[in-house]
């Protein structure tokens, strides 16, 4: 359908898309520099210092970093500006997104220095919270990558999150076995994947409609059984334990990085493992080549003997399982109890992370970390007195995604056959 529906896109693409992206990214970096230099540097007295705390157990204490706010902001702003100019002048289109990532990270540091004026910022805690927030987002986005790379749109991530959070808590509580809970969560997410696959692939129903309705279905079902079963029997059905951190010997003693990456619960390690597996699987194996072929041009893939429906079924169900693991982390990975609508739209942020990450596993990770950081920042900012209301920080992921799909920060392009049912005739 894309070939027909988007002649408008075709007209726009007469300009070299890579060049548009390069310019867009360069301008974005310059905007970041502008924010640093104009917003943060203005009105900051010369002698204010911000302290960054970087120590967490069990790593040995690290001396806190004390920075003069004004020079820090100025230097970081100038670096951003230089990166932007470099980007605009550079002929090559490689590493552009890496540069954007660097620019965003530098702006983040400058922002914290400015926001933390004169007090200390628990940088380690902030990073740790960002990472925890990023875990379900990354898994949800990977679920989306798996489905959409094979040509099936998965809007049901939110529903998969909810239902697996529910079953993770219930089974984990009932059996007193967290692994059973994790398994139940994965299976529940996979079941939503099965329903999506049957409706979207076998019956060629509209995938976006099916996804939206599955979200409503999962929300209704979990709220219903929470009220009718879990609440009356809270102690047996909705009080699971939670996974405790598993320190990795020696590695967890590395200052700064150790507590962040090597003293976490199973979900963080699982996320890293799945991420690596999907990245390598998609881009370096025969399976991945087939998936991408089916997502871009199912007819061609069919012609060379790939079973398109079977591959799509596999991917959609696998995606459901991955999202299910992410969903289970909401209950047995953090708070324990299931609460009504506890994912509160995070499934849609995961979808946004997938789009912002341009349908790539590593991109999805980057986006999930960025969105997780925004979320974590709200807690930090409520302690510091900053003239930015926290709802505006909550908006950031959504606004960033709108900008991304509108092509203002480099155009994002979905797999060509995404959302289209395939039939052989």
């Amino acid at each position: 359908m894309s070939a027909i529906v988007s002649p408008g896109a075709a007209m726009r693409l007469k300009r070299d898309p890579a060049e548009i992206r390069r310019h867009g990214l360069g301008i974005a970096l310059l905007v970041l520099a502008g924010i640093n230099l104009l917003l943060f540097a203005r009105g900051t007295a010369g002698d204010v210092m911000t302290t960054f705390l970087l120590t967490a157990a069990p790593a040995p204490p690290v001396p806190a970093i004390r920075l003069h706010v004004l020079p820090t902001v100025l230097v970081l702003g100038v670096i951003c500006a230089l990166l932007g100019i470099l980007q605009l002048a550079w002929r090559s289109n490689r590493r552009t997104y890496l540069l954007l990532g660097i620019g965003l990270a530098l702006t983040g540091v400058a922002f914290l220095a400015w926001a933390g004026k004169g007090v200390s910022v628990d940088a380690e805690g902030l990073l740790a919270t960002s990472l925890i927030e990023a875990v379900p987002l990354t898994l949800g986005a990977l679920s989306g990558v798996l489905c959409e790379r094979s040509g099936v749109i998965n809007i049901a991530i939110e529903g998969q999150f909810l239902i697996s959070a529910f079953f993770g808590a219930m089974i984990g509580s009932l059996t007193h076995n967290l692994w059973a809970g994790l398994l139940a969560g994965a299976v529940a997410g996979g079941m939503i994947g099965v329903i999506l696959a049957i409706f979207a692939i076998t019956y060629a129903a509209d995938q976006i409609i099916v996804g939206v309705v599955l979200d409503a279905f999962a929300l209704g079902l979990t709220s219903f059984f929470l009220q009718s079963l879990l609440v009356p029997q809270q102690a047996t059905l909705n009080s699971p334990a939670v996974f405790s951190p598993i320190p990795i010997p020696l590695l967890d003693r590395i200052p700064v990085v150790g507590p962040l990456l090597f003293n976490q619960n199973i979900f963080v390690y699982l996320t890293i493992g799945i991420l690596v597996a999907v990245q390598i699987g998609l881009f370096h194996t025969r399976w991945g080549l087939r998936v991408r072929a089916v997502g871009e041009h199912p007819r061609a893939a069919d012609t060379v003997g790939i079973n398109v429906p079977r591959l799509r079924y596999g991917n959609v169900i696998l995606g459901g399982i991955v999202a299910g693991i992410g969903g289970a982390s909401f209950t047995i990975g953090s708070t324990g109890q299931f609460a009504p609508n506890m994912t509160a739209g995070l499934g849609y942020i995961a979808l946004a992370a997938m789009i912002f990450g341009r349908w790539r596993p590593l991109g999805a990770l980057g986006a999930a970390l960025l969105f997780g950081f925004c979320d974590a920042l709200q807690f930090t900012l409520s302690v510091l007195s900053v003239p930015i209301p926290s709802p505006f920080l909550s908006m950031f992921p959504y606004l960033a995604t709108i900008l991304a799909v509108a092509g203002l920060v480099g155009r994002v392009v979905s797999p060509a056959a995404d959302g289209q049912p395939y039939s052989r005739e």
């Binding site: 529906v5 896109a9 099916v210 219903f224 709108i402 799909v405 509108a406």
Partner: protein, 413 residues
């Protein structure tokens, strides 16, 4: 199959499905029946006494079946009574003629009407976008913005006469909703950004915007401790239809007028003709000289306006002030209403009535039987799932019916 043949086939499917409307009614009825069956299974699972009866199934199978039937019948029975009312009470009210009897007898119908109205407007807006081949998934944000606009106008001018104030509040609400629909429209027209993604993201932008608004001096009710808006003054409120004790109000009449209006727009006006051309075949529309980018903007703006009015009706007719997360799932329910109504205004009106009755009845069911209200949400989702995939119904009941046209393609569209 080549892209061209896909398109040709889609159009053929759609055209061929028009004269055989009866088939879609059959599908809808069977889907409704299937949803009730799924709901019954869920009720059985959630009722402990029935589950105990099932444990002894091999000793006394009759008991298990009877207990299940009783539980399901009681739940669906109170769903019905809660939505339409108890016929005996209504008859008694006419016999006694006392006002208090009428109020309690017609309470359920009034509540159904109250729940129906916003669903009708939200469904109507989303259906309008569907007909133009666009998927407006941003109903939640548009409801919030519409309500926020109406609320602002509703408390900001305390001395205006009612004849001016109410229309003004409705206009501002419509304008705010329209603005929230305009953004995805213009983004699609200018940059090709998919309206599903942008409007979905705008839902959450709107949600957070409201959270922020309710902390500002402009909106927050003094003494600014609670997170609620100022209260809309009397002059800007929609009058009740049948006395102050029934919440039914004029918004329902307005919504019915909008149903006729949009029906006329789609069937009889040039604008509607262009929308339908766009929805049936974008390329044909372009070749025929329709400026399709302009139509995107117009259709999304109109859709946003109608959905925004749903929010305005809620706040001006029932609640009179806003709290965080205002509107709940109205915007999303509007999608299911539009799908169930197959994108036609009359279909939307009927589906909204059904879901409104579900919602009103669900509350009674919750009180009478301890079956949570959320059962209704599950019923709606299952019903629409089956309607969206007629092939499933065809397989389950082994019947032959025509294919319904696809509403929508992929991200690339």
């Amino acid at each position: 199959m080549s892209a061209e043949t896909t398109q040709r086939r889609n159009v053929k499917d759609r055209i061929s499905s028009v004269p055989r409307r009866g088939n879609s009614a059959v599908i809808t009825l069977l889907a409704f029946f299937s949803a009730l069956v799924v709901g019954a299974l869920i009720i059985i699972l959630a009722t402990p006494s029935v589950m105990t009866a099932w444990k002894d199934f091999f000793i006394s199978p009759g008991h298990a079946l009877a207990a299940s039937w009783a539980a399901v019948a009681k739940a669906y029975g109170s769903l019905f009574i809660g939505s339409i009312g108890n016929p005996a009470d209504i008859a008694a009210a006419f016999r006694s003629g006392k006002a208090s009897d009428f109020v309690s007898a017609f309470g359920p119908i009034s509540e159904t009407v109250v729940s129906t109205t916003p669903l009708m407007m939200a469904g109507l807006g989303i259906a309008l976008a569907f007909r133009a081949g666009l998927f407006d998934i941003g109903g939640q944000g548009q409801v919030i913005l519409g309500a926020a606009g109406a609320t602002l106008a509703g408390f900001a001018f305390p001395s205006l006469p009612a004849a001016l104030h109410l229309p003004l509040a409705l206009l501002v609400g419509a304008a705010f909703g329209a603005a929230w629909g305009f953004i995805p429209g213009i983004l699609k027209a200018k940059t090709g950004a998919h309206e599903v993604i942008t409007s979905m993201m705008l839902n959450y932008v709107g949600l957070n915007l409201l959270t922020w608004l309710l902390t500002t001096e402009l909106y927050q009710a003094p003494p600014r401790i609670q997170s609620v808006s100022k209260t809309i003054v009397e002059a800007a409120r929609l009058p009740h239809l049948a006395g102050p004790s029934l919440r039914m109000n004029w918004s329902f009449i307005l919504a019915v007028l909008f149903i006729f209006g949009v029906s006329w727009l789609l069937q009889r006006s040039t604008v509607g003709f262009r929308f339908r051309m766009l929805g049936l075949n974008r390329e044909a529309a372009r070749v025929a000289g329709v400026h399709i980018e302009g139509q995107y903007v117009l259709a999304m703006t109109l859709a946003g306006m109608l959905v925004g009015l749903a929010g305005a009706f809620m706040v001006l007719g029932v609640d009179y002030r806003m709290a965080p997360n205002y509107g709940g799932t109205t915007g999303f329910d509007g999608i299911t209403v539009a799908i169930l109504g197959r994108g036609t205004p009359v279909g939307v009106a009927l589906s909204a009535l059904l879901f409104g009755a579900f919602t009103a009845g669900g509350r009674t069911m919750q009180v009478n039987t301890n079956i949570p209200l959320q059962l209704v949400q599950v019923l709606q989702a299952v019903l629409v799932l089956f309607v969206a995939a007629p092939g499933v119904i065809r397989t389950i009941y082994r019947i032959k019916v025509s294919r319904a046209g696809r509403v929508f393609g992929g991200w690339a569209g």
